[in-house]
Symmetry: C2
Amino acid sequence: MEANVADAAEAERTQVKVDLGARSYDIKIGRGVMDAAGAEIAAVLPGARLAVVVDETVAKLHQKAFSESLNAAGLEHTVLTVPSGESSKCFREFERLCDEVLAARLERGDGIVALGGGVVGDLTGFVASAVRRGMSFVQVPTTLLAQVDSSVGGKTGINARHGKNLIGAFHQPALVLADTAILDTLPIRDFRAGYAEVAKYGLLGDEPFFRWLEANWKAVFAGGPERDQAVARSCQAKADVVAADELEAGRRALLNLGHTFGHALEAAVSYETERVVHGEGVSIGMMLAHEFSEKLQLIDEVTVARVQKHLTDVGLPVSLKDVPGQLPPAETFMDIIAQDKKVSRGALTFILTRGVGEAFVEKGVDPALVSDFLKEKLET
Amino acid sequence: MEANVADAAEAERTQVKVDLGARSYDIKIGRGVMDAAGAEIAAVLPGARLAVVVDETVAKLHQKAFSESLNAAGLEHTVLTVPSGESSKCFREFERLCDEVLAARLERGDGIVALGGGVVGDLTGFVASAVRRGMSFVQVPTTLLAQVDSSVGGKTGINARHGKNLIGAFHQPALVLADTAILDTLPIRDFRAGYAEVAKYGLLGDEPFFRWLEANWKAVFAGGPERDQAVARSCQAKADVVAADELEAGRRALLNLGHTFGHALEAAVSYETERVVHGEGVSIGMMLAHEFSEKLQLIDEVTVARVQKHLTDVGLPVSLKDVPGQLPPAETFMDIIAQDKKVSRGALTFILTRGVGEAFVEKGVDPALVSDFLKEKLET
Ligand SMILES: NC(=O)c1ccc[n+]([C@@H]2O[C@H](COP(=O)([O-])OP(=O)(O)OC[C@H]3O[C@@H](n4cnc5c(N)ncnc54)[C@H](O)[C@@H]3O)[C@@H](O)[C@H]2O)c1
Ligand SMILES: NC(=O)c1ccc[n+]([C@@H]2O[C@H](COP(=O)([O-])OP(=O)(O)OC[C@H]3O[C@@H](n4cnc5c(N)ncnc54)[C@H](O)[C@@H]3O)[C@@H](O)[C@H]2O)c1
Ligand SMILES: [Zn+2]
Ligand SMILES: [Zn+2]
């Protein structure tokens, strides 16, 4: 059984197609795919000039190699650097980048490349969607989170005063290059955070994949071929959901497993990443989703324990108690959840589960039940 | 023949459908359609809360009646006011409106309404496209230009330091309400400017309509049923082109008749609207396009004279000589044309014509010919 899973992953290894009709594109995955970035980009955007957006950290580590690959393919490009970190997903950087892309005299057939994590990808994608009402866009994700999640699906955007990712566009890339070797320079905490999203794909709809991860996670972390397989399998899972539901009307909501609680936690600590980064919030949120499902008698304690063991094995936090410092009371969490953008006309929507790989969307969950549950979790 | 044209317009009178598959919507046209705005909006966005964006001038004249109509239909709404004029199409207002819409706690199913001319429509549409990655959008155009042009087709956006309309999105409204009575308060200069776009639809592809306008323009200006007919016919013309070519790959370019020269003129006077407003630039640009077509022996002087007579009759400028003050040399115009966003990889694209109603897209026009032509026009 595990062999089958590995084989299936193997078959998908180098390429995942995101099937969106005229806007379809490939995700190319593997160690060293970035070395051929120039040729790959030239193949999808022949004759294009490029603007490459990168954050300061990634620029230091990888810009030189990337530019060399573009130069080797004869691709003229301008490099635009933004500060590292979430605060670059703002109106100010959006405006500045739009202006810089125009100053570089890029025309409509030219392209904008995001070289970086989810922050650079989201910001750059929104810029690409808006300049001249839509320029070609290429993603070169450099974090595990970006490779398995944010670079797939076309969601782009920036943060507003009133919340994260509230301003943006759906804008699909023409190509995604996920170089798994580039993750070797990623701090372990960021790798782990991205891994929470990998585990999520197993938990939400693919029990064999979750089982495979239980057996192979060490190799995924170490950077063997298993890492490529895990990335490919994750991309495929997200691509399948996205293809079925591009504009997030229905099934796509499953990808939010762990995210309602996770977002609330991130907001509750005012997005202080020293305390919780997104993937850690997702890990804790997924645990809470399973525990809440247990409380609703949808799953038993054995399932909950299984999920908890794997997340703990890889070093992810699994409880609100794992968050350093004081957390606000349950009421604050409830307020945040009610304001969450996934709220539809006042009703609470949660992703619950009937077992590993059997998540489902439950609309109209009773807020009182959630509130009681959170009180327990914050007290015990 | 004229009767036929009038009948055809009559039949389309109250409603034009913009056929874009799942994103199709209706344009409702006529005197007083705004009185039923509440009921009409409630029908397409049942249960929605609204943010209404309006400029200061229109707010004074029409906000009260509009709000009353919304209230009568039980539509909760927040009014957001922007300064009148082109300068509101900027990043600052974009950010402010996004924040205000979020502050009003609008959710994804709620709607944003543009009550105003093309400035408010373009800005508001871009805000609607971006907040929560796309909110429902309703246009209530209050200028002739907005009714026959900017509210149809889904182009939205703001201006950048490097040029007009360079940042934006394609975002289709759910409904357009074009109340032709609201144009009664519009200054005559703005009405005339919008009329240039009406005449454009005849010139680019509908000789019978142009002939009908030659006979009926006074009634269009006076506000009789002919005004409704002219608006409906124009919307239909634009809707047909847009439906055939939503993302402006090909045929949609015909709508730029008169606009390459027109934009260059607007830029050449630094968008000083005391000298030239957009529609005046289009009128002069259309004349230049016809004269340039004559120079290329595509049409004869009789056709040129016919076009000139009609535009002059309605009071529109028809020559660069009609622009008050000094104009820059032809070289400046050429530089502006080369930078124009409709330039594709360096080649000059123009809309030329083989007769009234027979415009076509000519790619790769020799810049030297254009430059010589402009020199003549600026000197004689
Ligand atoms: N668009 C979507 O669908 C989607 C989905 C999930 C998350 N997101 C967004 O993604 C963002 C988080 O992404 P992230 O976790 O990649 O954050 P990030 O982009 O901030 O990257 C994390 C840190 O790692 C550094 N870094 C990136 N690549 C590196 C490398 N190869 N080596 C060393 N350091 C490297 C960055 O400089 C940064 O400091 C959030 O803003 C979130 O909202 C978007
Ligand atoms: N999106 C598109 O496809 C498209 C097409 C053409 C033009 N445009 C844009 O449209 C804009 C121009 O539109 P516009 O000419 O409507 O300009 P506008 O919106 O500035 O309106 C012109 C003036 O008329 C006033 N006004 C509006 N309605 C009125 C009324 N009923 N009574 C009295 N005064 C009224 C306004 O306050 C303003 O001062 C430009 O920014 C242009 O780029 C967009
Ligand atoms: Zn996530
Ligand atoms: Zn125009």
